[in-house]
Every structure is written in C-alpha cells, then in structure tokens.
Symmetry: D3
Subunit: 125 residues, 6 copies
Amino acid sequence: MENNKRYQAGLEAMEQLFSHEVRNGMEGMKLISPDLWEMIVSFGFGDLYSRKTLCHAQREIITLTSLITQGAFDQLRVHLQAALNVGLTKEEITEIIIHCAGYVGFPKAVQAMGIAGEIFKETKE
Amino acid sequence: MENNKRYQAGLEAMEQLFSHEVRNGMEGMKLISPDLWEMIVSFGFGDLYSRKTLCHAQREIITLTSLITQGAFDQLRVHLQAALNVGLTKEEITEIIIHCAGYVGFPKAVQAMGIAGEIFKETKE
Amino acid sequence: MENNKRYQAGLEAMEQLFSHEVRNGMEGMKLISPDLWEMIVSFGFGDLYSRKTLCHAQREIITLTSLITQGAFDQLRVHLQAALNVGLTKEEITEIIIHCAGYVGFPKAVQAMGIAGEIFKETKE
Amino acid sequence: MENNKRYQAGLEAMEQLFSHEVRNGMEGMKLISPDLWEMIVSFGFGDLYSRKTLCHAQREIITLTSLITQGAFDQLRVHLQAALNVGLTKEEITEIIIHCAGYVGFPKAVQAMGIAGEIFKETKE
Amino acid sequence: MENNKRYQAGLEAMEQLFSHEVRNGMEGMKLISPDLWEMIVSFGFGDLYSRKTLCHAQREIITLTSLITQGAFDQLRVHLQAALNVGLTKEEITEIIIHCAGYVGFPKAVQAMGIAGEIFKETKE
Amino acid sequence: MENNKRYQAGLEAMEQLFSHEVRNGMEGMKLISPDLWEMIVSFGFGDLYSRKTLCHAQREIITLTSLITQGAFDQLRVHLQAALNVGLTKEEITEIIIHCAGYVGFPKAVQAMGIAGEIFKETKE
C-alpha cells in the first residue's frame, strides 16, 4: 500500500490539511477497515486534493459547504481546522457558513456556526 | 419595495450573476408570490451576495456545491451560468463537481456533470 | 384486501384528499406492486389520515412541508391539490412555502412555489 | 441593529416562542457571528414569524416537520419547547411526529419522538 | 393490541433481530407514544420483516444502507447489532459500508465505519 | 488510462452490469470530463464492484437502496436494469423498494416503484 503513488499523494495532502494529532485520530480507521482507510487516503485525499486548477483553500470551501449541506457535523470539525490550516481565515469561514444559510436554511447554518465558534476558540492566536 | 436598500442590492447582484433572459424567467415568481420574490432578491441576493470578504466567484463555489449536495439540479442550471458570468472557468466548475464526488458520492456528481456539459455547450465561446 | 378496516379507512381518506382523476392515476401502482398499494392505502392514508387530534388540513401542512424539505417535488403536485381540497387556501399554501424558505433554504422553496403556481393556475376558481 | 424594524419584530416573535433561558442560550451566536445573529432574528423570526395568515402554532407545525425531515435534531429540541409555548399540545406534537413516519420513514420519526419524550418530561405540568 | 396478527409478527421479527436488552430499550417508546410503538412493531417490523422473497440478512443490507445514506447514525447502532444477529458477518458489514462510500460520499461512510468499529469491539467473539 | 488495472477492472464490472447501449450512453461523460469518467470507472466500478465478499447482486441491493434513499431517481433507472442483469428478480427488486418505504417514507418508495414499473415493462421476458 505504501508504495502506491495515489496513497503517497494522499498522505502528503493530509499533512498539509491536518495536524499530527488529527491525523493520528483519523488513522484509527486502519484498525477497523484498512481497505476503507486506503480509499480515504488514495481517493479522498490523493486523487482529489492533489488535482490542479483549484488550490487547497478553494477545495476546503467546497468540502465545508458540502458537509454543512448534508449535516455531516462530526466531519465538519476536522475540516474547519483544515480550512484554517490551508489559509482560510476565520472571517472567510464565517462567510461561507452565512452564505449557506440561504441555500440550506438556518438550522444547519446555525449548527455549523456553533461548531465553528468552538473550533475558533480552540485555535485562538 | 423598490426603494428598499436590501432589495436594490439584490437586484444589482442579480445583474452581475444572471443574463437578462434568466432574470426575466426568475421574475415569474412575482406573479405567484411577490413576497417570496422580495425575500429572494433582498435576502438571497441582497444580504448574501453583497457581503464582503468573499467575492462572487467564491460565493458561486459555495452555491454550486450546496445545490449539488442537496440534489437541487433545477436551480443548478442557472447557477452554472452565473458561475461562468462571474469569472469561474469551465475547468474550475468541472473541478468543483469532481471534488464533490468524494463528499456526496458519484450519483449526484455524475448528474451535475451532465448538466454542466449541457450548459457548457450552450455557452461555447 | 377490500374487507380490511384499515384499507377502507384509507380509501375514505383518499376520497376526501384527491379528485377521482388523481386517484385513478395513483391506482396504477396496483399493477406494479399490489402489496405496496395496500400499504399506501392502509398505512399511509388509513392509519395516518384517519387519526384524531389533527384535521386533514393540518395533516396536509405536515405533508407539504415534508415533501418540500426532502425535495419530493413529484409527489408535491398531488398534495398541493389535496391541500386545496381539504380547505387550505392558496394564501395559506403560499405561506407554508415561504416559511420553509428559512428552514430548508431558498432553492427548494423556490422550486415548490413554482409548482404551486402551476397548480393554482389549473385550479382557478 | 436594534433600531431595525425587522430585527425588533424578530425579537418579539422570539419572546413568544422561547423562554428567557433558551433565548439566552441562542444569543451566544452574537459572540461568534453578530451578522448571522442579525439574520436569524430579522429574517428567520422577524420576516417569517410575524407574517399573517398562519398563526405561530401553525408555523411551528411547519418548523417541527422540516426539522424532523432533515434530521436537524439539535434544533428540534428548542422548537419542541416553542411549540408547547405557542399552544400546541403534547398530543398534537405527538401526532405531527407520527404523521411524519409515513413521509420520512421510521428512523427519523423514532428519533424525534424520543426527543419529544425528553422535552415532555422536562415540561411536566 | 397484543392480539393483532401484524403486531405479533412484528414482535417475532424483533426477537430475531435484537437482543433482549436492545428490545427493552426500544420499548421505552411505549411510554411516550403507544401508537407510534404499535406502528413500529406492526408495520416497521411486522409488515416488512415478515415478508417473503428477501431473508432477514438481505433486509438488513437494505436497512443499513438506508440508515447510512440518510445519516441516521443513532438507529444505525442497533441495526449493526441486528445485522450480526441475523447472520451478516463483520466482513460483509464492512463491505456494505465501503460500497456506500461511492454512493453517498466518504463523510457518511467514515462515520458509519467508526460506529461499526465500536459495535464490533463490543461483540468480540 | 486504458492500461490501468483499476480502470480495466471497472470496465469489466460495467460489462456485467450494463447493456452495450447503456454503457454507450454513460460514455458521454468522457466528452465532458475525462477525469470524472476515469474515476467513475476506476473507483466507482473498479474498486467497488470487483471487491470480494459481496456478489454483484448484493452490491446492487446496496446501490438501489442508496439511490432511492437519496432520491437519485435518474441514476436509479440504469441500476434497476443492472440489478436485473446481475440476477436480481423483479420480485426481489419490488421487495427492496417496499422495504425502503419503512426507512425513507412512502414518497420516495412510491416514486421508485413507479420507475421500476417502467423498467419492468421495457424488459418484459
């Protein structure tokens, strides 16, 4: 697995997106399903995040929006951190969530903003 | 209604996003519900699209992603056109949809790309 | 099947909700799956619409809202007609859709209002 | 902000819907995003809940249904309390959830009824 | 209620699907809404799980997939246990979740796999 | 692209699932986005459908269920045909949809059954 180019590209993208601590948490998946872990890394991060045309910050705009829209709030946490790591500011992230209010309604936007508030507190500069 | 600052801001944003023809089509809403039309213009476009921090192209990234994620394919059509109007390229739009494949699954991404293909044909430069 | 009390209750509820023409269209389901048809009538309409505490108009508020929220726009058509049949007015239906805009976002509310506009035209008094 | 008619209408609606304690909890949003707070109050509650034709109880039927249908169970809690505050009875709320079972399936209805059970216990008269 | 054939069929199906402990937990619903409980047992389990053509293992494939797709992760827990009880293996359950990744995207598949990991640990043979 | 093992596995799976005519239709994606086409074939069909433990018929149970649950009715059409091609019978497919009624509600189940009725007519033996 470790020799695979796609898998390596995925690991590199994950290093830019997530802190060491978060990646350790995510790696727990290897113990449950090594195959799903391989797909997450190779496809989810390798194939997608290493593509050109859109930078990581733009890709995180897409990821955050999709997670908010589908109400995937557990995964939203780590991607809010990733968004900050790749250069989106708190103001930009706040704006993404506000913009979502018109497209998914207030319940999901409100829940997302609450989580963002917690993440922002944890990452106070 | 027409004096309202929020409504005017909405009309201005809509002029940058949509062609005259598309806006005429959207205005059919006035005949069904003038109040919903007022909210669409004032809140949906006025309050959201005239905000700072994110430009219209970034806002269309969010809008497209949310529409694809929720499977709102009828509204996706006009926003694909809007995305091109505010400066997103066909390559960038294609990348947004590809990125969505990992977050919403292939069925919705495939349907979105099919629609994008139709819109791209119609707007061949 | 026809002796079943739940099924009979369902047929009675459907007579109050839907025109003869609409019910004929729905009965096409008998040819595809008689069992699903039985469940639609007995559970969907018999068990639910014949319950006390909420009248049919209130139940149609719930049904319309759920269909709009899940984007089930094909089924929305017959229930918009049902809503009018059980006493909800065009103004009330319009208000239900407007209220949804805040809870599901504008894309689905806009699509629902467009369909309502078509149904209202067809049922011009 | 406080001078704005829409914002004031929103605050008034919120006083009828939510207890002092719940409103205090909701106001935490001001610290994360004052702009989203302004929209929640002005649009979410001001523009929507102060409209005519449907009373607050009917509007809560719509809100509860939409929240259950989209699985927004965190926001469902405060709106179950709001529903009781504006005059919906426990029997009526129970019926709304039961009716949803046919339209969104049993998983979401079951989860909603479990939460309603907790809210009912807390508000034992 | 207890005499009803559909209700009895439902109780029998539930005995095959769920442990005594889980069924006790589910019966808490009787105290909140005896009517919803009756529908869960009679329709949800009686009418559906006692049907022919598909065995319980195949029905659990459908149930697990639908719960993952709609993000109903609370109900997923008891159905992961039910799936093991009716003969699906951990490998088969893992494969169902992996297959879902392509159809609902990675966020929901990842969350489902995490929950499956917890259930598998609890049921270590 | 054509040398890639994953891509070849995907093409082989697609030959078992879809008729020549359907595959031709799907290949239109190559003209819009060759990259998304490569992912559909390599990941969607290659990585997923060539895995062991679950046979194609079981995988189609999952696919159909997920499409119905998310309301992806356009993609449902080709997968209903695929399900028949890999050995699921009309009775089994009908049962899958009926089972979904309890988990996603009747609107989506009814729409799915209507489409199944059309597909069954087209493939009358």
